[in-house]
């Protein structure tokens, strides 16, 4: 059995205008899990529940073996959390912040902090108020990474970063995986980042998890088939196909459970398969959200 860094079981939380419903989520040790969802889907609420910052109405939350929110104080030593709305002290320097965190967390790695400071191009003696958005994000990440926590929870870590900074951040996140005992859960709507560095992907929309799977299986199951259909023939919606868009004699079938036999099955209806294409995570994301919303409405 794999060790789980995070396990959410049937977790729910109801607000007046939003309900997080029956969330199951597992983050195995040694893996990077990407949480993807549109704005307002429930990513941040889920993250805040597993950190113990928001208390769930129902369900079981365990983080690094600790039951949350009851044991959040014990759990927090080994959790590093960074989010966009985290504030640094504007008048203080990065050096001051590093000294502050170091005084709290005994596992602080000063050499690693120095290395990160150099790689991220941050000045230690400059007050935070002179930092750009990208520098603030990188400073926040530095303060979390240099603590060497077993679990990193990052809410939109690459939002608003320029390509160079994004690259630097992704490099440090994947470098964490050199240590098999450490894990990362991060939320993003940048699907390219998620596609590149995650081992597992969880899609969330309107307070529900609509899919959760290892990334390779996931990308393998989705395909786009381009077909040429004899006039007068309407393509059947075969099992594994979630949508057919037909315009004249050309059609596109989107599969969420692709097997090669599907292409043969369409050939047998008289259609010609022009191509079977891989889809990017972004295309899958959009198709998946639309499909799941249609299903709910039916």
């Amino acid at each position: 059995m794999t060790d789980l860094a995070i396990k959410l079981d049937g977790v729910g939380k109801s607000y007046r205008y939003f309900t997080l419903d029956n969330i199951h989520l597992e983050v195995p040790a040694g893996q990077i899990v990407g949480l993807i969802g549109p704005n307002g889907a429930g990513k941040s609420t889920t993250i805040r529940i597993l950190l113990g910052l928001v208390h769930q109405d129902r369900g079981d939350v365990r983080v690094l073996g600790h039951r949350m929110p009851a044991e959040q104080i014990a759990a927090k030593w080994d959790i590093g959390f960074a989010s966009e709305d985290m504030r640094l002290y504007e008048g203080m320097t990065l050096d001051w912040h590093m000294g502050f965190i170091r005084s709290i967390y005994p596992k602080w790695d000063a050499a690693y902090a120095q290395l990160l400071q150099k790689r991220f191009g941050l000045r230690g003696d400059q007050p935070i108020k002179g930092f750009s958005h990208g520098q603030r994000v990188k400073a926040t990440l530095l303060l979390v990474l240099a603590r060497k926590p077993r679990l990193l929870v990052l809410d939109e870590p690459t939002t608003g970063l320029d390509p160079v900074a994004r690259h630097e951040v992704l490099r440090e996140l994947t470098a964490v995986m050199n240590d098999e005992g450490r894990s990362i859960l991060f939320s993003s709507h940048n699907t390219q980042d998620v596609e590149q560095i995650s081992d597992q992907i969880t899609f969330i929309d309107r307070g529900r998890i609509i899919d959760s799977m290892d990334k390779e299986t996931y990308l393998d199951r989705w395909r786009r088939l381009r077909l040429e259909v004899p006039s007068g023939v309407e393509l059947p919606l075969l099992p594994g196909i979630i949508r057919i868009q037909q315009n004249g004699r050309l059609a596109i079938a989107t599969a969420n459970a692709f097997v090669p036999e599907l292409a043969n099955a369409y050939e047998n209806t008289g259609a010609r398969v022009h191509s079977v294409e891989n889809m990017t995570l972004e295309e899958i994301f959009v198709a998946n959200v639309e499909h799941s919303r249609e299903e709910v409405e039916v």
Binding site: T174, A175, M177, N178, Q196, E216, L219, N278
Partner: protein, 132 residues
């Protein structure tokens, strides 16, 4: 074991695991990685390429299935101790290009004889260029 020259392309539409497989095969084909040459560990290559561990794992599994590498529990992976593997991979590469040429010529409605003529023509051109 260096993975310095590995490069994952974002504009390449193929899945990342296929790109990794292809780059490893190319190293074996050109002889940079001879028989029994050790491969970087899965985790190390993932960190170097900044991709997920599961993606590199998938690439290694498929390479093992194709007989290009062997993996021993606890000892890591290495190039299969199989003489002539580099040559075999180059043959496979050629085969792939030939099949692609056949498919394209079918789309263009070329007869086999015409394709052979074209091949001869291309071959003469390449030879002429190399003499320059």
């Amino acid at each position: 074991m260096s993975s310095d020259a590995f490069m994952i392309s974002q504009s390449d539409k193929r899945p990342i695991y296929l790109q990794i497989m292809e780059q490893i095969k190319r190293r074996v084909a050109v002889g940079d990685w001879p028989e029994s040459h050790p491969l970087p560990s899965i985790r190390q290559l993932a960190v170097d390429l900044q991709v997920s561990v599961i993606t590199v794992k998938r690439a290694y599994l498929e390479l093992e299935r194709e007989g290009v590498i062997v993996t021993q529990q606890g000892k890591g992976s290495r190039v299969a101790p199989n003489p002539g593997l580099g040559m075999r991979l180059q043959q496979q590469e050629l085969q792939k290009h030939l099949e692609q040429a056949i498919r394209l010529s079918a789309v263009l409605g070329l007869q086999h004889e015409e394709l052979e003529d074209r091949l001869r023509e291309v071959s003469d051109n390449v030879a002429a260029k190399e003499q320059q």
